[in-house]
Amino acid sequence: MEKAYAQALWELIQKGEKPKEAVTKIQTALAQRGRAALMPAVGRAFERLAQREAQKNRSVLVVARKGDEANARKESAAHDAEIKVDESLIGGWQLFDRGQMRDESWKSALLSIYNASTRT
């Protein structure tokens, strides 16, 4: 139930409603239905929803070393992506963007060669 109210709140805000007003409307609607006690749970569900949406739209570019960012940004065309460093990649980069991954790391290339060579 709280998920549905949280979703409704999210949609109100997405439509341009001011957050404070949207929350007031949800509170009024809950009170009218005798479900005012549900409000804290709706708040928590909204928080999770907002986190998920933020995660969904997050763009992360993982590089092997500091200093590789410029080249990685150029190759991946992810100019606004958040940068992370993972030395285990050896070289190259990985891009996580809107639920998709592009793996151009040396580690994965070496691993695929290793797996193909050791497969008897």
Binding site: D86, S88, G99, Q100, R102, K107, A109, L110, L111, R119
Partner: protein, 520 residues
């Protein structure tokens, strides 16, 4: 370093082409009891295979020495996440791990190189004989053949068990349930059927697939050894999902078994698949469904438990000539509790299959083995597949035995019986003796016919009950030694000709004369 290894690596490097492109990914938000909740994977489809990305953050060396790919199977598509079952070691999965979509449904390897091998529910070899070289991948979930692609069941599948081949005949493409309490000989019937296929000519011999679900590894090892000892392993594949395997693999194993069998059926060959047993698969599926938070129904089984078994068993078929004429016969096994065949899962499977062989604990304990309850056992399509020879000797056998069982109950209370009743009881008792058979000793059909011919023509009626098995063995030996042309004729024509009948009647007279000591 071995130069061949270096050459291989050089070849791989030369041939390496970056995969490129994008992969749909999600992240694990919750893990528990073999089930994961995954956020993301928005374009996931039902029954899609996903790969858990275990190499993230690990060094190249650690990644190289990993335990191989860890896969999952999507079983729930929810509003804001998907739920998948882990097809492997659940301890390798961690919260926050990246999950990659593969865009494929689960498939298992099949082909000739699987014969004589033991594989797990994912089709990976577990017998230490190395990986398969060029297998054909078969989808685990596939729509069954429709009406137009099928034809009637008319070819017999000989089990080598007299009681079954005579009274509950099974045809190629049929689904015959083996049902009974624990330790009543269900697996023995199935294994004897596999062993008996060695008597079939190589070009018509069915490929056998034995699917062990939730069984002890020691039992599966024993079965494998028994098949090897009887030269039956060369045409058999064992799919093993032991009791220690995750519920997801126990649920998948029968589907993997049928997928392996379908490869041969599609090639026009005959296949026999044994599911040992579907009760354990139902329990594994119940566990998964509850963990996936699907609403429970009767006995806490999910609402689609009937569909689970019907879609599996519907994949048994005898294909039309246009489709190659192959067949897939299914012998599912169901374990009952205290002989109750009216339980939820037993009634479901009884209604799906084309008949059942009911094994009874009481008969088993009385020494009647195989402990087949003739009254409750039935084959709905098999009679059309029975050979003329068998029909001619076993026509009234079932009725006679059923009458004997009634009289047997009556006999316990009656002190004085009229001659007709006493004769019928004596005849019934001898027939029961004749139908007894040791495990691991299936009998070729022509010998069964000879044996039953003698029994229905009252050869053993004057033989003391304790000596019937001895007399029966000597009778078969007698025919093999002096009348082998009759056996050959039955084997060749599949019928007992008038000449053969006369010859057998003469043989019976000669046997009486030669073995007077048995008729004392």
């Amino acid at each position: 370093m071995d130069s061949s290894i270096v050459e291989k690596i050089v070849k791989e490097i030369e041939g390496y082409a970056p995969k490129g492109g994008h992969t749909n990914v999600g992240r694990i938000t919750a893990v528990g009891d073999g089930v994961v909740a995954i956020d993301g994977l928005e374009k996931a489809v039902m029954s899609e295979v996903v790969e858990f990305e275990e190499t993230a953050g690990k060094s190249l060396e650690d990644s190289m020495h990993g335990e191989g790919k860890l896969l999952g199977l999507i079983l729930n598509l929810e509003e804001d996440s998907v739920r998948a079952v882990i097809l492997g070691d659940t301890a390798r999965v961690k919260e926050g791990m990246v999950v990659k979509s593969t865009g494929t449904v689960l498939s298992v390897p099949s082909g000739d190189e699987l014969l004589g091998r033991v594989v797990n529910a994912l089709g990976e070899p577990v017998d230490g004989k190395g990986p398969f070289k060029k297998p054909t991948m078969m989808p685990v979930e596939r729509e069954s053949y429709g009406v137009i692609d099928r034809k009637a069941v008319t070819t017999p599948l000989q089990t080598g068990i007299k009681a079954i081949d005579a009274m509950i005949p099974i045809g190629r493409g049929q689904r015959e349930l083996i049902i009974g309490d624990r330790s009543t000989g269900k697996t023995t019937v199935a294994i004897d059927t596999i062993i008996n296929q060695k008597y079939e000519p190589a070009d018509k011999r069915p490929i056998c697939v034995y699917v062990a679900i939730g069984q002890k590894e020691s039992k599966t090892a024993r079965i494998m050894q028994q098949l090897k000892d009887n030269d039956a392993f060369a045409y058999t594949v064992i799919v093993d999902a032991p009791a220690s395997a995750p519920a997801a693999l126990q649920y998948l194993a029968p589907f993997s078994g049928v997928a392996i069998g379908e490869y041969f059926m599609d090639r026009g060959q005959d296949v026999l698949v044994i599911y040992d047993d579907l009760s354990k698969q139902a329990v594994a599926y119940r566990q998964l469904s509850l963990l996936l938070r699907r609403p429970p129904g009767r006995e806490a089984y999910p609402g689609d438990i009937f569909y689970l078994h019907s879609r599996l068993l519907e994949r048994s078929a005898r294909l039309s000539d246009a489709k190659g004429g192959g067949s897939l016969t299914a012998l599912p096994i169901i374990e009952t509790q205290e002989g109750d065949i009216s339980g939820y899962i037993p009634t479901n499977v009884i209604s799906i299959t084309d008949g059942q062989i009911f094994l009874e604990g009481g008969l088993f304990n009385k020494g009647v083995r195989p402990a087949i309850n003739v009254g409750d056992s039935v084959s709905r399509v098999g009679s059309a597949a029975q050979t003329k020879a068998m029909k001619s000797v076993a026509g009234t056998l079932k009725l006679e035995l059923a009458q004997f069982r009634e009289l047997e109950a009556f006999m316990q209370f009656a002190s004085d019986l009229d001659k007709a009743t006493a004769d019928r009881i004596a005849s019934g008792q001898r027939m029961v003796e004749v139908l007894k058979q040791k495990n691991g000793s299936p009998m070729p059909v022509e010998q069964q016919v000879i044996d039953l011919f003698a029994a229905v023509n009252k050869l053993f009626i004057e033989v003391p009950l304790a000596k019937v098995k001895q007399a029966e063995a000597q009778w078969i030996e007698f025919i093999n030694a002096g009348y082998s042309e009759v056996l050959e004729d039955i084997k060749k024509t599949g019928a007992v000709s008038d000449d053969s009948k006369k010859e057998l009647t003469r043989a019976m007279e000669a046997f009486r004369g030669a073995h007077g000591e048995l008729f004392a």
